[in-house]
């Protein structure tokens, strides 16, 4: 898919909370094997939102970082979408909270999107459409989550917190583009691998079913079709960023698509911060943009349970060198950390009835 008017990334920014809880802490609590998570799933620790953080606050900081990089006034934005599965209100858009906090109101389209972990690229597709149709000059797509795993469930070991904002602009209108979109593919089926019913605190999942029929089927399909339509080979890409529910899945899927480990490494963040859900693939992209050079081609494929994958191809432009140092990088936030124990983690994440 390609819009009639070519679109570019005009700015990017991320935010990851301060706190980390190590896999050993959770394993100790529930009598599980830390080794399984660390060595097989490649997760060492996950990022935990503080008591005063939620998807709105994470989205606002990511948004401000993206705006800083882009050099744009907040009122330049014609849309802001927040993709999440842990938004603070069931009814009341996070998009308006973000738009107001960054000073982008009132001439703006704002809404929230949900497609499990793919919501962050859902928002990106929408911005691409709005910008590419000429309806708006710039749109901000945010993917952020503070998702929870049920205590003792395997997902508790990986459910992390964080998010990324991407600003989409029009090619030609944006004078310092960071990267140009070559095309995208969305591949979606009704596959109930992971879900949460209303009023339930934690999601449920179909265990091993979340692998081949869900993650792999959709990511591999979207990726293959994208490369076919754009007549590209895996070796044409410098970087490959995939959705990261753990370390094992993206490395395996990348290999099955024809990518090698070097292409995946720079965007593989899950060992340090866990699975950011709707923030996962877009934060991987952000980490890649933090180091990419003009001319690099970047592959990104998200995955959202329910299920679907959005695959994209970007080529990096000269604007990246101008904009990169205007804000903190993903690595800056990863390095800024403070480990907490299971007790504090429970208090922060309200696993104790408070």
């Amino acid at each position: 898919m390609r819009p009639n008017i070519d679109v570019v990334i005009a700015g990017w920014g991320s935010y990851i909370p301060l706190y980390r809880v190590a896999v050993e802490e959770i394993a100790k609590m529930w009598g599980k094997s830390a080794r399984h998570f660390k060595e097989e799933l490649l997760i060492d620790e996950k990022a935990v939102a503080g008591q005063d953080e939620d998807v709105a606050t994470i989205a606002v900081e990511a948004a401000k970082n993206a705006l800083q990089r882009s050099g744009l006034a907040p009122t330049s934005l014609g849309a802001v979408f927040v993709g999440s599965e842990s938004k603070p209100y069931a009814v009341k858009p996070t998009g308006t909270i973000v738009a107001e906090a960054i000073g982008a109101t009132p001439r703006i389209l704002a809404a929230d999107m949900e497609f499990a972990c793919k919501a962050g690229t859902e928002t990106l597709q929408c911005c691409i459409g709005l910008v590419g149709s000429g309806m708006i000059n710039y749109g901000m797509a945010i993917g952020a989550d503070t998702a929870q795993g049920a205590p003792a469930d395997s997902l508790e070991f990986s459910a992390g917190c964080g998010g990324t904002a991407l600003i989409v602009g029009r090619k030609g209108y944006e004078k310092e583009p960071v990267a140009t979109l070559e095309g995208s593919v969305s591949y979606v089926t009704d596959t109930p691998d992971f879900w949460r019913r209303p009023k339930r605190e934690y999601p449920s999942h179909a265990e091993a079913f979340t692998g081949e029929p869900a993650y792999f089927a959709h990511v591999l399909s979207a990726g293959k079709i994208l490369m076919e339509e754009l007549s590209l080979k895996p070796s044409d890409f410098k970087y490959a960023v995939l959705h990261q529910p753990n370390g094992k899945f993206p490395i395996k899927a990348a290999r099955m698509l024809g990518f090698n480990k070097e292409q995946v490494d720079s965007g593989l963040l899950v060992p340090y911060i866990g699975n950011l859900y709707a923030g996962s693939s877009v934060t991987g992209l952000s980490a890649v943009l933090d180091i990419a050079k003009p001319g690099d081609r970047i592959f990104m494929a998200s995955f959202g349970s329910g299920a679907g994958s959005d695959a994209f191809s970007f080529v990096v432009n000269d604007g990246i060198d101008v904009k990169r140092d205007r804000s903190l990088t993903v690595r800056n936030y990863i390095k800024r950390k403070r480990n907490i124990d299971y007790a504090i983690y429970s208090k922060f994440r309200r696993k104790i009835v408070v």
């Binding site: 301060l18 503080g50 005063d52 939620d54 709105a56 606050t57 401000k64 906090a101 800056n332 800024r336």
Partner: protein, 130 residues
């Protein structure tokens, strides 16, 4: 806090919007009806700087209503880069690591949740500068 009261002062509390006196140039935060310095009633909107130094603080151990689960929490007075002083909560720092003189920067955070069904109240807090 009632919804109208929360909503009305959002520009001040979530974007640090202050008033600058058109006549004598001093910054008023919170804004006033008349300038404290020269009595002028003419002001222009002014965005406070986002960074400053912590000039004093306290660690609250006996909370005010609604803040029980946050104890101990830190309140501080920050002198911003333009000399304006504001009273704000500190965040992303354990109380024992707070010190007078530390560099701090503005972040958008939750301040209060009105129970399980009321609104969520956000505002600018300050954290150690990254």
């Amino acid at each position: 806090m009632s919804v109208p009261r929360y909503w009305r002062e959002m520009p001040e509390r979530t974007r640090l919007e202050a008033a600058k006196c058109n006549r004598c140039g001093i910054i008023l935060f919170p804004p006033r009806g008349k300038c404290m310095n020269c009595g002028s009633e003419s002001f222009v909107q002014y965005a406070l700087p986002r960074r400053g130094k912590l000039i004093t603080f306290t660690i609250v151990r006996s909370p005010t209503k609604g803040f029980e689960k946050q104890v101990p929490y830190v309140l501080g007075m920050v002198e911003l880069e333009d000399g304006t002083k504001i009273t704000v909560p500190l965040t992303d720092v354990f109380p024992e690591d707070v010190s007078i003189g530390m560099n701090v920067e503005a972040v958008f955070r939750k301040v209060f949740e009105d129970g399980e069904s009321g609104i969520i109240e956000y505002a600018i807090k300050f954290r150690p500068t990254l």
